[in-house]
Symmetry: C2
Subunit: 453 residues, 2 copies
């Protein structure tokens, strides 16, 4: 069954069960399906509704479902869950997943909840929380399978059965001494193929490829991808095994890094959450910073032009032509970059008018800020009347550029084409054409206005 | 041991072993280390040298090492390997990896080699080759572990031991009927935790999440990432299991798609190989196509400007100002995009001067082509003398823009900063400033030239 079928089949049933307060039915829904599928269906609801479903599940199931929610959805949910049930969920979540969540929660709330968490789990959490962000330590889990070197294959399999329920993976087994030093590695495949009487040290692979706990997370993801590993061991500087990073976390890191690079390339400060989940003013800030820097760079170009072409009489318009055009192109590149990356990550499904409305407002806000700065720059160079033309044009060009940068990729997608064809330079080229029309129309309108007055 | 240590330790030894023709030593080197590590060391050599090492390994080891090479390195290697040994390597490679290689080889060579491949493998290869590019079928492998529903856990483990050596993974087991219809799913973890007498149908998970053989590879990768799977089953339209896609192939697809989007966003036709591996003229073509399209778009802006500002006397320069500046910015955005993505994928390590020299030549070639087109466009609008200024400026701006777009990110990297800070709009802004200087200097130089003559 392909996963999208679940949605249409199940959503009406669940709404009915919530209305009828059918506790057994809701519990059955949470436990019978794969946790990732449950999360996907619940994430389409409001957090309040989702919790009405999830609260009927046992804590162990809640702990399995939680990590499949987007992190911003998890943060919203924990506000609705009481401290006691939340501490149970956190106990049940796997090591790396709960640290991801706790790092994003309000610190006071974290302290309150942690006090209710069992001692063993709590010290594990505090330790993982202490590793710096973006390090191997911050994405690893301590729930790895490990065995001593001097036992037989038969005994190893028996011990693995005991470890299995609480380990993130038992397919990679790490061989350690009493001091937890990493001695070797065995795959479960090799283990079940070996003779029961063989000792692990005879078949284990020595010289294990590992990473250090303070290595950058990008390095860890690259090592896993390069060697096609399911997990990679993490050691401290005494070569003691402290955790593992699994392939799924490595894939998440790769996606994050690709998103961060894409955003930076489009001159947006990287967003922590997705494009849709980022709040309005945070999004405006992360774009505005770069637009202002770029506006100052463009005003340098105006200065350079003034040196070559003093721009008296009608030709003052030339000085600010590159700045005006660049403002529209830059704003458009930002929107296009954000929307194209969000489309690739399937964040935007069916939200076209929501995006358009948000982009118009962000465009107007950013346009107003840039217009104000442009006014000051232009006033100092070319006087009041001319600078008003520049100011008004920058406002219009940025607003229109922002909106069309978001809408053109969505339009291409609707036509069945690759939205990424709407490249930054192409957006800039279209914006240039429009910018010229707006600039010269504004100028002649203003001239008429001043002449009439 | 972190992987980079292998290099410095082993490379001198290997060179010595090649010189001394130490067959046993080279064979030992190939078989003792993890195949991914062997591949990494060999890939730093010329293909001829690498084959001198690898030819001493048994075919099964060769088949394990081969897939870890970059695909363009694999293609170079197969030219050096005789048809008979190559057919053995292909027999030993896993299903999806060999198809990746065969799809990139010369079709005549493929036919010659396939005739030497064992019948069973050959028909498997032909079948996988028949799936369209970018489909689930094109990235799946047929080497999955499957079992019937009505056997006991004990018997299942025994059968798995038989299947294990030839399967891509045995950690996910698919339950099928005699017609290969997918009935359920079991993880090896669940299997070894179950009581030996339990029948599989009692513990298997029904409603398996799967993809169709003609689904897009991006969809497949997203499903694996969404549910944190190690593998996902692929079924045909009769729900018959035809293959699996594993997590490592999904990660590759995600990287490919991110690279493709990044290239498109920077207005480069996506490269099949990496930036470094792509030949000069192919790279020039994939950039030139977009630069020419963007030049025509910019010449429209010149037309629009001419409508508002007829540009007689000195002001003809204004008409082509946006086009001249955009050409430099676009060329620079392309280089920056390519270099930043290549840095993220660790393709460019230590090749700064090689990159600089290639970018100068590509910049000059693309500059010459764009200059020629600009000349025609400008000649039709503003006459011979003025158009020569435009032509010369476009050539210089594109050459300098291309080079600096590549060098600025490498410089940031050298300073320990994130190279992606050199965003497309920032490159365009810097290029604008430089473009103005070049444009006006060229103009005044040309005027002097014509005045003197």
């Amino acid at each position: 069954m392909t996963s999208s079928i679940f949605h249409s089949l199940l959503e009406p049933d669940i709404v009915q069960m919530i209305q009828g307060n059918d506790e057994l039915g809701l519990r059955e829904f949470c436990t019978a399906l794969y946790p990732g599928v449950v999360a996907e269906i619940l994430e389409d609801m409001e957090p309040e509704e989702a919790w009405k479903v999830l609260k009927h599940a046992p804590a162990s199931t809640q702990g399995e479902i939680f990590p499949f929610f987007d992190i911003s959805f998890q943060v919203k949910l924990v506000e609705l869950v009481g401290d006691k049930p939340l501490s149970r969920i956190i106990e049940e979540m796997s090591g790396d997943d709960r640290v991801d969540l706790l790092e994003r929660m309000d610190p006071d709330h974290v302290e309150t909840v942690l006090r209710l968490v069992a001692q063993a789990e709590r010290s594990d959490i505090r330790k993982l929380l202490s590793y710096p962000e973006y390090s191997a330590g911050s994405i690893m889990t301590t729930e790895y399978a490990s065995l001593p070197a001097d036992i037989s294959v038969k005994e190893a399999l028996e011990r693995l059965r005991v470890q299995a329920p609480s380990r993130e993976t038992i397919y990679y087994i790490y061989i350690t001494d009493e001091g937890r030093h990493l001695l070797g590695f065995l795959s479960l495949r090799k283990l079940i193929l070996a003779k029961p009487t063989t000792r692990l040290e005879e078949i284990m692979q020595r010289d294990v490829i590992c990473v250090r706990v303070d290595d950058d997370q990008e390095h860890v993801a690259n090592e896993i991808a390069r060697y096609d590993f399911i997990a990679i061991p993490v050691v401290d500087n005494q070569n003691r095994l402290v955790g593992i990073v699994t392939h799924d976390d490595a894939a998440d890191v790769m996606q994050e890094e690709a998103t961060e690079d894409a955003h930076l390339l489009g001159a947006v400060q990287p967003l922590e959450d997705g494009y849709v989940a980022t709040p309005f003013f945070e999004l405006a800030w992360k774009r505005g910073v770069w637009l202002v820097i770029l506006l100052f760079a463009a005003s340098m170009t105006a200065k350079v032009l003034q040196y070559f072409d003093p721009g008296d009489g009608g030709t003052w318009m030339v000085l600010f032509l590159p700045m005006v055009l660049a403002s529209g192109g830059n704003a458009g590149s930002q929107s296009a970059t954000l929307v194209i990356r969000a489309l690739a990550l399937h964040e935007t499904d069916g939200r076209v008018s929501w995006i358009a409305w948000r982009e118009i407002r962000i465009g107007a806000l950013l346009g107003a800020i840039l217009a104000l700065i442009s006014f000051i720059v232009a006033y100092l160079m070319i006087g009041i009347q001319a600078s008003m033309v520049v100011t008004l044009t920058v406002f219009l060009v940025v607003t229109v550029g922002t909106l069309s940068g978001a809408m053109l990729p969505l339009g291409l997608k609707r036509l069945g084409m690759d939205p990424a064809f709407m490249s930054n330079p192409l957006i800039a080229a279209l914006s240039d054409m429009l910018g010229v029309v707006i600039y010269y129309s504004t100028a002649s309108a203003t001239v008429q206005l001043f002449t009439t007055a």
